[in-house]
Symmetry: none
Subunit: 237 residues, 4 copies
DNA sequence: CATGAATGAGGGTTCATTCAT
DNA sequence: CATGAATGAACCCTCATTCAT
């Protein structure tokens, strides 16, 4: 084995290891946020949950805030990556939006760690890395231009949609949200946007492609550890 | 002067003094929350803003949380007291709801300290003492029974309304929200509830009784001090 | 009624009232010490227990320490006043000592508030106002001169007696001390002093005059309130 | 150097360092207790004496109480370890007890930091980790079975012995206690237990093996620093 | 890079004491 | 004298961060 190869190998292994630890910290952060909220002793709990030394943490994240930003970004990107292919198959703006919202809410409903994380992060997550913002502006404008939606400032429409989503997800934490809440909520949103009630009802009943959460995703791994290990008591909001 | 009178006088003076300090602390808390957000380390800033000693604080609020609860309660109650008389004059459920939302949003728009406080408090305020919850369930049910609204679980409707309101208020902080946003938002909400677009448009154009904020209210006093004294830099979310 | 008489009357009433409050504070202090130990927040608990205002406290005791000294003094004096007449009837030094110890321990056994107070106060009480020290030196010396006791430094003998008493009283707090412990303990002490075992056994079996605790004594009043009102949980040593 | 060795080395160094700091804190605690007494506010003084940061303290002891318990345990264990070998050479129960008490008191007499610590800790130390309790119950029972001691409840005998010891040690603080006090006290105790005066006198005159305090023991190290550094004024009881 | 002991600034909280009424 | 709100020094404790190994 040549030296070059050896060095390559060494650095590649190191890089992989580094990436694994980073992921582990992000997962742990998500679990901790979901349980304890955005307050207080994040780092200590995160390193404990990740079983990593205190000092190591700073090899990955300069500060508290950097950790949250990284997590929010990763989290949003993952969701976008999962929903995007489904949406791209659809042409009709209203159906695009309806399907995105429904997919999103259904996914959240099946993933408590995400639900609680979002509920606890609240506006801080919304204002920073709202995964819906990637699709929404484009589709809203398209829909308005095609006369499908009432001409409302896009900004207000987005606030309406994301606020509604946030509160509904907050409601999911207690577990009382009915199974078809995503459809009913989407129905409301479509009507709010100006879609005639009859059409809205049909849009929300389109069969939904089930979205698989990849096994090695942040979401899946956090959820797996969230269910089992839960060493911390979950704080009520 | 008899002893009884003396004692009465003494305790009355003490009680008044106590009440004044309490109010002062609540106002200060509102200002601090509006500026710094819900971070844990509120107390020191509150006592500084209120110009009261640290020790005194604990004569009024056992903990950080107790302070927030007291403030949230007082804040909500005040708003309810201000909006209630206006709403009570109205019979039609949709118009009641529309007027309540519009009044609320207009009031907030003219009161930065409240806007920022709500934006920073976010879900914590919503889940605890949402002033809208006093009217909404009743009027939503009435409207559904009269066939004015689509039959949606009241809980979901409330989540939609409060979530939308929260995000819109959050948007107000930057000052970009147009003057007629309350009407446009209310329009969306009414349509979401199932009110036909034409009717919704008319409901949101009813002339609005201007709501006066009493001079000695928490809101007014906090706002007065908020504009002038701002010693702390306002944190961006 | 002449002015002089009126003034006399007024000041007499005032003096009585003052004395009543002072007593009330001392009783309360005893209860608090018995429950919480010598630590921490004495004053606040004492005024609460006495139902007296914070400020008033300082009209009676300048400091924490002054309160304890006053209580220890009053407590010791009361006990001396109760035991003294019984002892004065006795001539024989060994019997004097035996009877004093037995009376003391029996009294304590029937008065939990005192037991706990002594146990919590510990050496601080001993070194300050040991009620036994009033009789012991005199009787020890007399006994030694009469050849009844081994010639031991009086100081050491007193340390032996008071230390033993203190620990036994400490043991009473748990309630496991048997009824005849005072006799057995006194038996040990007499032997330690050099009294021949047979004599010691007889001395501790002399019939004991039952000592009545006056109803308006500190001890009786504290005990009465100790049993009933106990608002504070008693700390284990 | 292999990774495994490096890690081993690292953790061994860390463990040693940790142990050193812990010892340092315990020594300092002993000194502080000896000087200030059991007052609540120990921590600040301890860290000052140990020249360690406040935060570090909490890496070792969760609370004030935990510190005291650790110290009391360590202290008692050390004494037991020192006295045990001497006692184990002896068969006769009365001589065992006599020698243990004499050794203990002589050791204390030569170690002011211990004397003062015990005097200040008082009952709290006795009730928790009385080093005498390790030997006493066993030897008392043996002596009673062999007819050497009067049959007294072991509990009472222990209270007598430990109480006497405590008070005598308390008396040592002032320095007035004569050199042969241990023998005189032991003499009293033996007689109290029922040993005939003549025998008792002989038991307390057995030559005593001088007990060496190991140089790196808590006791020795605390004593060394106690004499020199005394930064705090010693409180009178 | 990993480790974990050490740090110290910063916050929460208590409580003896004062003083205007 | 009684009252009790106000005070602030002093304490407890946490936790992000550093750094020698």
């Amino acid at each position: 084995m040549s030296t070059v190869t050896a060095v390559d190998h060494r650095s590649r292994v190191a890089a992989e290891r580094r990436e694994r630890t980073r992921k582990r910290l992000l997962e742990s952060a998500m679990i901790v946020y979901a349980q304890k909220g955005m307050t207080s002793s994040v780092i200590q709990d995160v390193v404990a949950e990740a079983d990593v030394s205190q000092g190591s943490f700073y090899n990955y994240f300069k500060t508290n805030e950097a950790l949250f930003v990284a997590l929010a970004t990763e989290f949003s990107n993952e969701i976008v990556r999962m929903i995007e292919p489904v949406i791209n198959e659809i042409d009709h703006p209203a159906l695009k939006i309806a399907t995105a919202i429904r997919s999103y809410l259904h996914m959240m409903r099946s993933c408590p760690v995400a639900t609680q994380f979002i509920a606890k992060a609240g506006l801080r997550l919304m204002s920073r890395a709202n995964s819906l913002e990637v699709f929404l502006p484009r589709d809203l404008k398209a829909g308005q231009q095609q006369g499908l939606f009432t001409p409302i400032p896009v900004r207000l429409a987005i606030q309406m949609i994301s606020g509604t989503g946030l509160m509904v997800i907050g409601g999911m934490v207690t577990g009382e949200t009915p199974e078809d809440a995503p459809e009913q909520v989407t129905d409301m949103i479509l009507r709010a946007l100006g879609v005639p009630p009859g059409d809205a009802g049909r849009f929300v009943e389109y069969p939904l492609v089930h979205i698989m959460i990849p096994e090695d995703s942040l979401l899946a791994r956090a959820q797996a550890r969230f269910q089992t290990g839960c060493t911390l008591a979950t704080n009520v909001v």
